[in-house]
Structure formats: C-alpha cells, structure tokens
Amino acid sequence: MDSDDDFMSGHSSGDEDFGLEVESDDGSLGDDFDEDEPDVGFSQKDLKPAKKAYEVDYKIYSPSEIQAHQDKQIGEVSAVLGQPAEATAILLRHLRWNKERLIDLYMDRPEHVLEEAGLGPNTTTNPQTRVIKGFACDICCEDSPGLESYALRCGHRYCVDCYRQYLAQKIKDEGEAARIQCPTAGCNRIVDSKTLDLLVASDLKNRYQVLLTRTYVDDKEHLKWCPAPNCEYAVDCVIKRKELDKIVPTVCCACKHRFCFGCTLNDHQPAACSLVKMWVKKCEDDSETANWINANTKECPKCSSTIEKNGGCNHMTCRKCKYEFCWICMGLWSEHGTSWYNCNRFEEKSGSDGRDAQARSRQSLERYLHYYNRYANHEQSAKLDKDLYQKTQKKMMNLQTASGMSWIEVQFLDTASHALQLCRQTLKWTYAFAYYLQRNNFTEIFEQNQKDLEMAVENLSEMFEKPTTELADLRVDILDKTSYCNKRRVILLDDTAQNLKDGEWKFNVDISSKA
C-alpha cells in the first residue's frame, strides 16, 4: 500500500505524525508528543543554531514515549470510528498506523475493514472465561465438567489451559504480538490485548507490550530502533529513501551510539549509503588482495628493521635509524606538511602506461589498494586509539596525582580521545567516498580538506601518545589541536554534504537508491 521508496507511511497534509516539521529551526519536532515531556538525552538546543549541510533533524524516543504516542493515536482514532480502543488498536496495526487511510476505508466499508483486520462479525458478547455444560475442548479433547473455557468474539471456544499455552508459545517462542489469530484453522480473528490481560501471566504481558511497541516502530517508516545492543530507544527522522543519494543522515542516539538512519550502519559520513554498501561488498570480495595491509608491523623504508605500530598515530619513527616516515604511504614524514606532497590523493599514471589491458588492470588494482589502504588504516588506527582511550582513564588518574590537576582539568584527554575516534571514522569513509569519486572542479577542495583533517588528526594523535609526564604541559596544545580537528571535520563534512545536496559530485558508479 505504501510506496517502497518512501520512508513515511502517511504524507497527506492532515497528518499529525511527529517529526514532520523537518525545517523547523526551533527544533520542536512533533506536536503529537506532550510538550512537557522532557527530551531524552539529546537536546536540540545543543546544536549550533545554523544547521550544517550534513546535519539532519531527528528526535529520540524512549519506550514509554513510544507507548504514549501509540495510546494517543488509538484514543483519537477510537473517537472518530466509534470503536473501542482494543479494536482500534488492531485496526491501526492492520493498516500500519496510517490513520487517514484507516478512517477513509472505514467510512467507506466498515464491515470489510473489520473483517480484513481480523475483527469479523461478533457472535458473543464481552469476552470472558466461562464454564459451559457439555463443553469439550477441540485442542486437548478434555471434557471434564467444570472445565473453564474462553472464546474470542468469533465464538471459537477452547479450554483456558490450551488458550494459555497457545498464547505463550506465540509470544515467547515466535515473538508474535500484533497478529496472533484465533487458534481455529481458517479463522483470522486477532487476539486483542484485553484477552491477553485476561489470560496470560504478567511476565508474558510485559513481553507482549514490548513486542507491540516493536511492531509499531517497525511499521512506522520514519521510526527506527537504535541498533546498539540493549539500547531501547527509537529515532524519528523524516528522510525518504529516495533522498539517500543527496544526504547521509547520521543520528546520535541517547545512548551515544552514532549511526546512519538510512541503513542503520555505524556513522559513515560523508559516503552515501549506497556507496558504503558497494564498498563493503568490494572489500569483502577483495579481502585476499588487501590482507597484507592489516599487518601491524612493517619494515623501516631506510634500514629495514621491523617496526610495530601500537598507537593510532601514523607518524612513525624508526627506533634504530631514527628515520621518520608515514605508515600509510611509507614516504618521508617531513614532506607531509608541505603543499606539494600528496599522501591522500591517488596519482593516475599518464602516458602510454594506461594503454594495454594488463596495465589498466594493474592501475585499477593500485587505485583500489591506495584507497583501501587508507580506509583500513584509519579503521585500525581508530581501534588503536580506542585501546589508548581505555588507558586514558588510567592516564588521567596518574596525571591527577602527578600534576595536582583536578578531575575537570584532566578531561581534555577524554575530549581528545573522542575527537580522534570521530575524525578517524570520518576520514576512513572519505577514502571509500574518494574511490568512487570522479575528478572535477570540486575534488581538489575535497582532497585539500581531507589532507588538512588528516594532518590535524595525526598531530593530535601524536601528542596523545606522549608519556604521561609530558601530558600536563601539553594540555593547552592538546585542547587547541582537539578543537582544530573538530573544526576541520566540520568543514570537510559540510562542504562534502553541500555538494552532495547540490548534485555536484560525479561518481563512477550509480549511487541512486535503486542501485
């Protein structure tokens, strides 16, 4: 019923669904939620007033807020249809919470809608367990006198034990909630939550509620669960699937997990979802070729002694000959700061080289390895930085005792570590992005931004690895470098996202969402 390329289920003008006001500057998303309900963890006020090109509006909801929102919609629609809340809930779920469509259909052919939703004609009055003379349960064939039995409004009656076991199995084993039908073969009457309340134990009731809420979020095209393990929050973001070649909608959950609303993978700005998918697939297919890159040891380009990388920083100094080089390109480090040196850009070889097929295929492999090398390196560096971060806590403790700094004063290491993670995550994906990018007037600026961020990150990373004794003196420097890194990242992302929006990037693959 809904178009596939559309994240929202309802888009008529009368739709009051929360989160529709994408452009609102005050950040007040969603008028369906009570105004007095506190924002959870994330406050729109924390954002800079002017939205950057790479930012999207979104809101985070806790399970109880989602519950409240369901209840509110059920209440509203129940009043319009003149159906009890239980039946309205089933109707709404049946039509995937598209209120307008439900009301339209119901006004047109009420019996038909009820039948379709599993609420066929009523043959008994208010559901309750009863003892009926001469009753034999068709499931267990028990017929002892005094046997308690239950039937939904369809009138199909079974003993309470069988009913309970049936519901327990559906909820516990099959994770079913919104669409549990009457146990009778061929009867599609839906078990409503009043019946559930009447028949099942409280632990199952809770599970049932959780499952119902789950289907609510799954049914709503602009709601998604945070993919972090054990996180219970859902994110509301109105991004249509067909917009995903124009924007990379990164959101940050109340649990601090940063993920892409488009594909729910970890934050992959500035690369669009479809590029990420292609890139990950390519890396899997070519993992053999690229395996050597993941090694943590390399040889010094000058004296050939083995050098181990144990931090995120790519500025290496050989212990033996003191040669300073770049871990990624193995080039002389001193040249990296200069304007003419390019570690990040792949230099296409010109001339007769590219003529024959063999040379072309070698060139294409080299090109891939160039980008993959840098991509993988930042991934690995981020891991190493993270290991360092685990040690940061300890470092901070040591620093406090050594320098007499307060807890607040040593927070700069924590901040620096976070910035490193974030910037490396971005850098990593700039290389997947660049791999698919065709050269044009805009690529030069992109590569410059990439290089600037890269240098800023390596500088900070280098400081971050200094022995604790030196850290206290570096505090101001580290703070400066941290904010510089963050600034460079914002510049890069903003510029890239703006060009993506404006359709200025040319890719050597099709990045539209169909691909």
């Binding site: 267990c140 049936y166 146990p183």
Partner: protein, 152 residues
C-alpha cells in the same frame, strides 16, 4: 496433555479411514510416530503407486505442526529429492499451523498435493520448472519413478 487428543485422532482415523490412506503405529508405545501408506490418486502422475510416509508429532503437538515426509522416493516439486523426502508448505509451516488443525487435514492436504503439485511453493526448483514448462517430461519421469520405487 496431548495424549488424549492424539489418541482421539488416531482412533477416529481407524474408525473412519480416509480414502486410500492406511495408518499404523510402527511402535505401539510411541504415539508420536505414525506410518502412513498412501495410494497414488487416480488420474494423477502417481496413480498405481503406493507411498509410505512418516508422520511425526512434536512434543508440543497440537501447538506445533506435525512433520510429514515421504519414505518412498517420489518425483515431486514439493518433496525434497533426498533421503529425507521432507515437505514444508501450507498448514505444515509453523506460522500457518493452528492448534485446531487436525492430522486428517494434513493427510488430505498431502494427497491433494499429489493431484495438484504447487510449483510456486517448491523445494525442488528444477522439478518445479519442468512441471511448469515441460509437463510431458515431468509426467514421464514421475511415472517412471512410480514404477521403479512405488510399485504395489
């Protein structure tokens, strides 16, 4: 708790057997394992054959569906062409099974499949394709298998 139901179903099927279907318990003490002998329906590709099937009921029966498999080799798009001869479609699928569904319905369903295979729900795609596109060839093989494996 399912004992009573299973005993009743078994008893009913002995009292009024289904057309062309014989049921025995290979082990009298085990009500969960039934052996079915099914005649190939008249007019179907399987006419003239006698097919042995095994029906096993799960501990959770009737809340979970029984499993049905052909012990006699059969050339059919809905039966796996291996030593298991298993099938999983229609009401045999856990999400379509209802506790009020009965074994007689399951057996009728299986017999119906011999008359009208369901290539859209196939486990053997090759056989399904042949059934759709080259019925003649399908019938030839199916009948040859009946002769070879399911002779009375």
């Amino acid at each position: 708790m399912s004992q009573k139901r299973i005993a009743k179903e078994f008893g009913d099927l002995q009292k009024t057997p289904l057309d062309g279907i014989k049921i025995i318990l290979p082990n009298e003490a085990d009500m969960l394992q039934w052996q079915i002998t099914m005649e190939g329906p008249k007019g179907s590709a399987y006419e003239g054959g006698n097919f042995v099937l095994s029906l096993s009921l799960p501990k959770e029966y009737p809340f979970k569906p029984p499993t049905l498999s052909f012990k006699t080799k059969i050339y059919h798009p809905n039966v796996t062409n291996d030593d298991k001869g298993s099938m999983c479609l229609g009401l045999l699928r856990p999400d379509e099974w209802k506790p009020s569904s009965k074994i007689d319905t399951v057996l009728e369903f299986a017999r119906g499949l011999l008359v009208d295979p369901q290539p859209d729900d196939a486990v053997e795609q090759g056989i399904a394709r042949e059934y759709r596109e080259n019925r003649k060839e399908f019938l030839k093989t199916a009948k040859a298998w009946v002769k070879q494996y399911a002779k009375k």
